[in-house]
């Protein structure tokens, strides 16, 4: 927990980071004062006011929870399928050859293009949103895990075999940890993609969540509340990314010192 202890470097970083945030808020305030039109661009203070209102009437919390559930659910589905599939494909050549064409074909299709099909298959609400968020997270996780599985050093494989490791141990104790740094990179990118996708999905295929809230307020010309939704998405996405980085550092890849 050394990041809790302030150091000279830490203080300097904090100063620059705060300056960056202040600069952003300053430019925003200046722009909104210049435009002088709260429908085009409300001031940060107005957005903060809207934020507090929505917190008090409870709708923001329920929208956040709806979006969070979809992001985390879809992300977990994606991680649980993409990581094993990618590693198995990197491990067994027949499986690689079997699935590679399908993956290569499906990968360029953006998640948003799946929305019509998702609505047809799953209706409106949670299920199509899970489908879209999972789809969005799947490919970054898959690509990175696959690259990680392919980058296993032959020395490690030979050493493990010469120490008596069979296929199962080779997979679980060599391939998986060896690919873990790449897998965690994929998880971070995938989580970000999932966040972007949930808003898109909720704009169209749901009646709750931050994306739906943004869409509803857009129609009501409540630009301040649209910005509340956008800011909350930005903050939550950043927080989850930082959280994942901490999990990566202390749980998933503790041996990576740099």
């Amino acid at each position: 927990m050394k990041w809790l202890v302030p150091s000279a470097d830490g203080t300097r970083r904090l100063a620059w980071t705060s300056a960056g945030i202040a600069l952003f808020l300053g430019l925003w305030t200046a722009a909104s004062l210049h435009l002088n039109n709260p429908v085009l661009l409300p001031e940060p203070t107005a957005v903060l006011g809207g934020f507090l209102d929505l917190v008090h009437d409870g709708t923001l919390i329920s929208d956040i929870m709806a979006s969070l559930r979809r992001v985390i659910g879809g992300f977990l589905i994606a991680a649980a399928t993409a990581v094993p599939l990618a590693l198995l494909m990197a491990f067994y050549r027949p499986l690689d050859l079997l699935f590679s064409p399908i993956i290569t074909f499906l990968r360029p299709i953006p998640p948003i293009a799946w929305i019509p099909i998702a609505i047809l298959w799953f209706g409106i609400g949670d299920p199509p949103s899970y489908f879209i968020t999972a789809l969005a997270a799947f490919f970054p996780i898959f690509i990175n895990s696959y690259a990680g599985g392919k980058a296993v050093l032959p020395e490690h494989v030979y050493a493990a075999k010469s120490l008596g490791a069979g296929p199962r141990a080779l997979f679980g104790r060599i391939y998986l940890p060896s690919a873990m740094p790449m897998i965690t990179t994929g998880l971070r990118v995938g989580l970000g993609q999932s966040w972007m996708a949930v808003v898109t999905a909720e704009l169209i295929a749901a009646h709750s969540g931050l994306g739906y809230m943004i869409q509803a307020n857009r129609l009501a010309l409540e630009t301040g509340l649209v910005l509340v939704g956008m800011c909350v998405i930005g903050l939550l996405g950043a927080a989850m990314s930082v959280g994942l980085l901490a999990i990566e550092r202390y749980v998933l890849v503790p041996w990576n010192q740099n």
């Binding site: 020395e155 490690h156 493990a160 075999k161 010469s162 008596g164 104790r173 503790p254 041996w255 010192q257």
Partner: protein
């Protein structure tokens, strides 16, 4: 420089599991017959080894010496089962080698440890895979043999090059393999560390008497360590000459100043020089 555990204190060998054999087990005979190895390349197949015969007796310390491109690492990889020969057979104790297996410990020059496991887990990996009782206890015994019992919790990335290789040797030995294959294990170490590692390896070997095949391009290293130095030739690769090293054991570092050592050195230098010149001229 760390003191060596074997000097400092008597290692904890009186453990109930797997007593360390004081003398050779009589296992670990390596036989290669008619070994040929070709690699496909743009301008046609490249012959790396051609019709090579080799017989390594149980408990022998054999050095494979030669300039790069002589096929010494290829021969080691054939014995390890990492490569399959184009022609010929390799057997260990009469059984054909089909792939890397627990009868053959390997120590590489680089990446020899698993970076995601602690030092202790690295050494315990083999005993765990072999289903031996108390792999952690065995790992501790072997770590103390190489003087690194205090570093058992460390990640490999935090160790020096010499320490990494000591852990690598401990890990390979912890499975009691009849054969230990070492591919330039000290090649990346500085001269001081290297010479201490050589001494330490000999001390361990005198205890285990496992068959060692040691690849190096360092003439002094080969003579200091080995019972027999196999000098390899190039184009095509194979055995140029074998030199039996009749230096007494245990060998003290001062032995490199002896006349006999220098006699071997001169003889082998001459052999190697021919080969290196051949490679040099061909590359022009």
């Amino acid at each position: 420089m760390q003191t060596l555990a074997l000097n400092a204190s008597k290692p904890r060998l009186a453990v109930s599991h797997d007593p360390i054999p004081a003398q050779g087990t009589g296992k670990g005979r390596i036989e290669g017959h008619g070994l040929a190895m070709q690699f496909a390349a743009k301008g046609g197949p490249v012959v790396v080894l051609d019709e090579l015969d080799i017989d390594i007796r149980p408990g022998e310390f054999l050095a494979l010496l030669g300039p790069s491109g002589c096929g010494k690492s290829t021969l080691l990889n054939l014995i390890a089962g990492i490569l399959k020969p184009t022609r010929g057979t390799v057997t260990i104790d009469g059984a054909a080698v089909k792939g890397p297996n627990s009868g053959c410990g390997i120590v590489f020059q680089h990446h020899s440890l698993f970076p995601w496991m602690s030092v202790l887990e690295n050494v315990a990996f083999g005993p765990k895979m072999m289903g031996r009782g108390d792999p952690i206890g065995t790992a501790r015994t072997f770590l103390s043999l190489v003087g690194l019992e205090k570093h058992e919790a460390a990640w490999p990335a935090s160790l020096s090059g010499g320490m990494k290789q000591r852990v690598g040797i401990a890990r390979a030995l912890a499975n009691y393999p009849p054969v230990l294959l070492m591919d330039e294990p000290f090649g990346a170490l500085d001269a001081q560390t290297r010479s201490i590692m050589q001494e330490e390896l000999l001390k361990l070997w005198s205890r285990f008497r496992t068959t060692v095949v040691f690849v190096t391009h360092d003439i002094k290293e080969a003579i200091f360590l080995a019972d027999r130095v196999v000098v390899m030739k190039t184009m095509p690769g194979g055995i140029k000459r074998e030199v039996k090293i009749d230096l007494p054991r245990p060998r003290h570092p001062d032995i490199i100043k002896s006349d006999l050592f220098n006699h071997y050195r001169g003889e082998i230098l001459e052999l190697i020089r021919d080969e290196t010149l051949k490679v040099f001229r061909a590359s022009k």
